[in-house]
Subunit: 136 residues, 6 copies
């Protein structure tokens, strides 16, 4: 009997999209305003979803307070009010597209979530653009 | 050609999380403020999703007015403005976690929805915490 | 490594639900107020989701500006501020239920999206009623 | 000690914007796609706000169940799933802009709300466009 | 040059509406399901709005981190996961209607907010019912 | 007979809060993570509200397409995907707090909106923090 529980979190960050091996013109043509060298930013909304079996004693799949704390410690404290390109090791060589940020977050959280639980992350860059990744 | 249709519903209820076989201290340590003996409460948002084939004549998978009425009769009238622990038979011995409430709702609705249709319920305890269950 | 990217769009349209081969009474009994011969209308919210592999160079699954433009050209310009029954060829013989509109949109977009990408559309008729279709 | 209580309601309707004394070209130039002769439609979200004194016995400004019923009887039943131009007497000679619809709703509700209570209506035509009217 | 800044907060609580000097029948007739003796509950959404002048040095009207902390200390910690009738001194003799809760919150916060700043609270009992109070 | 019409818009920008005449330590102590020298960012949601009389012929207070275009030309194109501190003349010497950004936007739009119409701007830095300014 599998069930999924999800928790929403938030962080506000700056970024720019840029590929160092491309020329300035190529980057501007491909990424448009997202290539602004002075950076722009977003309020990222994150939904972390865990799938597994309900504990028959507690009625919990996982303790949401624990999950909320993991997300705060590992994701919000790491990315909130940061410049993803400059402040975050992961994006020094990886373009911080919403897709790549979602994969990075999934990889960080995968180490924290027990292995018998499946993990999916949904990341909203804006209310109109979002990405889902479950590691498959 | 399978499609899913979903309908949102709402109910407001009180509950507490508690395991009778545990001591007061164990319950308080595990469930924290959710263990408050005087109860607290939530606005539960429910999404009921049905999957199956579109009727080629009507263009409906199922009649949403009928589905809305089923949800009202079987779920909203049963749980709205209730104390889940005290007023609802299902939770006299089952801890009313979001996970367990979602499973109870799924089991109730499963009897009402034609068997050739799949059923999923999504239950929001708050805007930030939610559960999905599809009976598998 | 598969990921999904989604983009929201909107259109406002009029429609009525009606089956020409049924009598007026049968239509009214089955579709209720949705059968109003003078039409009523909705703000349709559309989420288009694409699944595939991230391009290792750009970090994009697909260019969201391109996707947004495709949705504007093929869906919003076609259906926004239209009467679905009278103005849109597709619904001259097909009942414009949310289910059928979702399938029509999926079929239109399927031709635009590269074939190695999966496609899902989620269509909200109201905040409380929505449909998901992925072509299977 | 004045307080305001508000209640949200909804209705889905078709309309077109048109001034009969103008030529077809003038109407099309001024109202654009909103002038479509076959109508388009919206999910209108309505917030009705009442201002006055709290009853010291009940702690209510007004009974929200009563207010919800008034809105249902006088507004939702009158405009939901209707063509505002064709089905609703008020708009046979009055252009159904969001502004005019808000004023019409205010005038209808003003007769139902006790005169010692102030009344404001907020009407959303879409999530991005809305109107507020308080009768002054 | 006056400006308003607002901050949203949340708390989840149980309550019942009841007037001790009325009979059980009178209470049930007037308050309906809200009178359930076993309590029900809500996710309350609170918006605290402060009006005053922008500090020309800092560009702040007030420090939102400070305001968030005040709301947490004085409101969320006091009411979250509580039974308003049983756990909260204020509602031992005051009916916990949304109106009365809003006034109680305003009175608590008024003592914390500098007197040269105006204060308004908006309290959502559900997404569809809310109350605004500014102390006048 | 006064009425207000409002239109929502959006822009995504980077910024940092900093007072050049303060020491690094003072800035960090006062603005906390918002002082990050590498910038962070937000999705700003903007609501522009105009108050005045309905035109008795058209039923419009103002043409929302025109208003939407003004907001796009003067605000979205100016601030979207920009670094407010580095790219925008207004914030080279003015701290880009939400309060100051709202005032700057109001001042820009005031020149565009006819003088017989009142103007208010509401600016959301996040879903939980917002500012309202009407020029008084």
């Amino acid at each position: 009997m599998e069930i999924s529980v999800s928790r929403k979190a938030h962080f506000n960050a700056a970024h720019r999209l840029n590929i160092p091996s491309w020329s300035e013109e190529e980057n501007k043509a491909f990424f448009g305003v997202c290539n602004n060298g002075n950076f722009h930013g977003h309020n990222y909304d994150l939904i972390v979803s865990i799938t597994g079996e309900i504990d028959p004693i507690t009625g919990y799949l996982t303790d949401m307070k624990w999950l909320g704390q993991v997300i705060k410690d590992k994701i919000e404290d790491r990315f909130d009010h940061k410049n993803l390109n400059l402040d975050c090791e992961e994006f020094k060589t990886l373009n911080p597209t919403t897709e790549n940020i979602a994969v990075v977050i999934w990889n960080i959280l995968r180490k924290e979530i027990p292995s018998h639980h499946q993990l999916k992350v949904t990341l909203y860059e804006t209310e109109r653009n979002f990405v889902e990744y479950n590691g498959n």
